[in-house]
C-alpha cells in the first residue's frame, strides 16, 4: 500500500518508540512510589542535548548516552529535593522542570544544530542483520533498543516479584503505613525519581544521537508528555507500556512514511495524528472506571510529611 515496505516500517516503528518507551518505564516506577513527575519532557530534552553534545565532542555515543542519563537524573534531583524535602506541589514542580529544561537545553545546545554525531556500532554481525525479513527486524538495531526491552522485563520482575518491588508499591499505595513500618519513604522516592530521570535522559539521548542524529531546539516535541500518557494507558504495567509505546511508534512511523509517499492527505493532519491517537487512547482507558482505578497508586501526587 502506497509503496511502503512493511519491514522498514517495523524497523522505524521500534526506533521511533524507544525514546518514549524509556521515558515511560522510568516514569512508571516513579509513579509506583506515589510521585507524579510532570517534568519528563524537560528531563528528556536535557538528556537529548547533553547526549548529543557529549557524543559529538568525545566521538563516543556511549559517553553520550551516559551524559544523557546523568543530566536527566540531575534535573530529576532538583524535582526530588523540591517535592520530597521542601514539600512543594508535585504538579507545579513538574511543570517548572519542563519549562526550565526546555530553556536550559536550548541554551546548552547553542552552536550544535547541524553537527553529525558519531555512528553507533551495531551489536550483531552483518551476517545476522543481513538475513531476509528477520535480520533487520530482530538484529538490525542499536544496543539501546535491546536495553529498553530488557529494562521493561527487569522493571516488571522487580515490581511484581521481589521484596524491593513490594516496598516500592507499599510506599506508593500508602506512605503513612509504609513509614510506620519503618521504610524510608523519602529515600525510596528520591531513588525512584533519579531512576526516572536517568531513563528519560537516556530516551532523549537516543532521540538525538540515534534516531534524528541532530540537535534541534524543542526536538522532543511532546514525547515526554506522550510518555506520561503511556503510563496511564498501561495502567502502570510495564509490558503494557511497551505495547503502548510501539502502538504510538507505529502511528508515528506510518504517518511519516505516508508523508514521504505523498499521500493525498494534508501533512498537518498526518503529523497531528500521534497526538490525537494518544488522546483517544487516554479517553478509552479512563472511561472504563473499573480498569482505570484498579492499578493507580493510591498515594499518587500526595505530599508526604512525616510527623512522628
Amino acid at each position: 500500500m502506497f509503496g511502503i515496505d512493511p519491514i522498514t516500517l517495523i524497523v522505524a516503528l521500534v526506533t521511533v518508540s524507544t525514546p518514549v518507551l524509556l521515558a515511560a518505564v522510568g516514569e512508571l516506577v516513579v509513579e509506583k512510589t506515589g510521585v507524579l513527575n510532570l517534568g519528563v519532557e524537560g528531563m528528556m530534552i536535557t538528556g537529548a542535548v547533553m547526549g548529543f553534545v557529549v557524543a559529538v565532542d568525545t566521538g563516543s555515543p556511549t559517553l553520550g548516552f551516559l551524559a544523557g542519563m546523568a543530566s536527566g537524573a540531575a534535573l530529576a534531583l532538583i524535582f526530588g529535593l523540591l517535592t520530597q524535602l521542601l514539600l512543594s506541589n508535585q504538579v507545579a514542580t513538574g511543570l517548572a522542570l519542563t519549562l526550565f529544561g526546555l530553556g536550559l537545553s536550548a541554551l546548552l545546545g547553542v552552536g550544535y544544530p547541524g553537527l553529525t554525531p558519531p555512528a553507533v556500532a551495531d551489536p550483531f554481525p552483518d551476517a545476522l542483520s543481513d538475513l531476509p525479513v528477520v535480520g533487520p527486524i530482530l538484529f538490525g538495531h542499536s544496543l539501546v533498543i535491546y536495553l529498553s526491552v530488557l529494562l521493561v522485563a527487569v522493571v516488571w520482575y522487580v515490581l511484581g516479584h521481589t521484596r524491593a518491588g513490594l516496598i516500592i508499591r507499599a510506599v506508593g499505595e500508602n506512605h503513612d503505613a509504609a513509614h510506620a513500618l519503618g521504610y524510608k519513604v523519602i529515600r525510596i522516592r528520591l531513588m525512584a525519581i533519579l531512576f526516572g530521570g536517568a531513563c528519560a535522559g537516556l530516551g532523549g539521548a537516543f532521540l538525538s544521537v540515534v534516531r534524528v542524529q541532530n540537535w534541534v531546539e524543542g526536538m522532543t516535541a511532546g514525547a515526554g508528555w506522550i510518555a506520561l500518557a503511556l503510563v496511564v494507558f498501561a495502567s502502570w504495567k510495564p509490558w503494557r507500556a511497551l505495547l503502548g509505546a510501539y502502538l504510538f511508534g507505529g502511528v508515528t512511523a506510518l504517518q511519516l512514511r505516508l508523508q514521504a509517499a505523498g499521500v493525498d492527505v494534508p501533512v498537518e493532519i498526518l503529523s497531528m495524528s500521534p497526538y490525537v491517537v494518544t488522546i483517544i487512547v487516554l479517553v478509552i482507558m479512563s472511561s472504563d472506571r473499573s480498569r482505570a482505578a484498579l492499578n493507580a497508586p493510591a498515594a499518587l501526587g500526595k505530599v508526604f510529611h512525616a510527623t512522628g
Binding site: T93, A96, L99, Y275, T278, L282, S286
Partner: protein, 361 residues
Amino acid sequence: MLRLEKRPAPSRGWTMATPVLAVVLTMIAGGLMFAALGKSPVEAIRIIFWDPLFNTQFASYARPQILVKAGPLILIAIGLSLGFRAGVWNIGAEGQYIMGALAGAAFGLALYPSESPLIFPGMVIAGALGGWAWAMIPAILKTRFRTNEILVSLLLVYVAEKLLASAATGLLRNPEGRGFPGSRQLNRLDAMDNPELIANTGMHWGVVTAFIAVIMAYVLLNKHLLGYQIKLAGQAPRAARFAGVNPSRLIVLCLGTSGALAGLAGLFEVTGPAGQISIDFNVGYGFTAIIVAFLGRLHPIGILLAGLLMALTYIGGELAQMMLQIPAPAIQAFQGMLLFFLLAVDVLSNYRIRINTEGVA
C-alpha cells in the same frame, strides 16, 4: 537537625515575601549562569531589570513594550489561576491562545474587504469562542470520561500548532502574498486593527482587557459565591462536595474561562503586536503564564505585578542578547529557575522550621 512543622494556616507575611525572595535568589543563580557563559553577572542583571525602565537610550522603546508583553501574560494567567485554585490544571493555554487567534482572524478575513465597524468586535467574540471551544475538549473529556485534563490540554497544544501551520500556509494565507506563508497584515486593515490606544504606552485593547480581567477576578474571588466555591474546591474537595459544589460544573467553568481568556489574548496579539497569522506568531506566552500565575500567588493583584515583572525579563532578555550576546534561550532558563525558587521557598509559608533538640518529641 532541622524539622518542618506544618502551620495551621499559611503565613501571611511569608506568602507576600516569598515571591520577592524567589526573585532575589533567581537573580543570584541567574548571575552565576551568566558568569558561566562568560558574561559579567552584575551587568547582565542590570541590563535585564534596570535598563529597560531607566536607561535613557533604551527606555523610550522598552517601556511601552512592557505593557505589550504583560497584557497577554496577565490575561492568560488570570484565567489559569482560577483553575489552579480549584485543582483544575489547564496547562494547554498555548493551544487555546493559538485557536483563539485562528478563530478570530478567520472571522475577520472571511468578511474581507468589508469595512464595517462591527468586524473587530466580532473577531474578539470569535477569538474568545475559539479558545473556549479548544478548552472545552479537555473539560468534557474530564467530566464525561474522567480523562486527565493535564495531559489532554497539553497534547492539544501540539495539535493546535499543526492547525496553525496548516492555516498559515493554506486556508488563511494571504492570496496576494506571492505564495509566502502567513495571512494578510491584520494590523494594517482598519477594520481588524488592534491599535495602540495611547501613543507610546503600549496600551492596546488586549492590555485593557487584561486589566478588566484582573478586576473581575478580584471581585469574583472575594465577593462572589462562585469564587468561594473555587477556593473551597481547591482547599477541601470533600467539604466542597458536602457544601453542594458541583465539581463538573466547576471544571467546565474554570477550563472554559481560562480558554476564553487565552483565546482573547491570542486574538489581540495577531491583530496588534504580531500583526498577522504566521506559523510561529505564538512565542510561548501560554506556558510563561503558568509561571506568572504561580509567581502572583494565584491572586489577581499578584498576577498583575508578576506579569509586569515577567514582561520586564522578556524585554531585558532581548536587550541582554543585543548588548552582551547572551543567547536568547538563557532568559527562558532564567524564567524557569524563577518558578523553581518560588516553589522551593514556598516551604516557608506553609511550614515552620524548627530545630530538633534531644528528648523533645
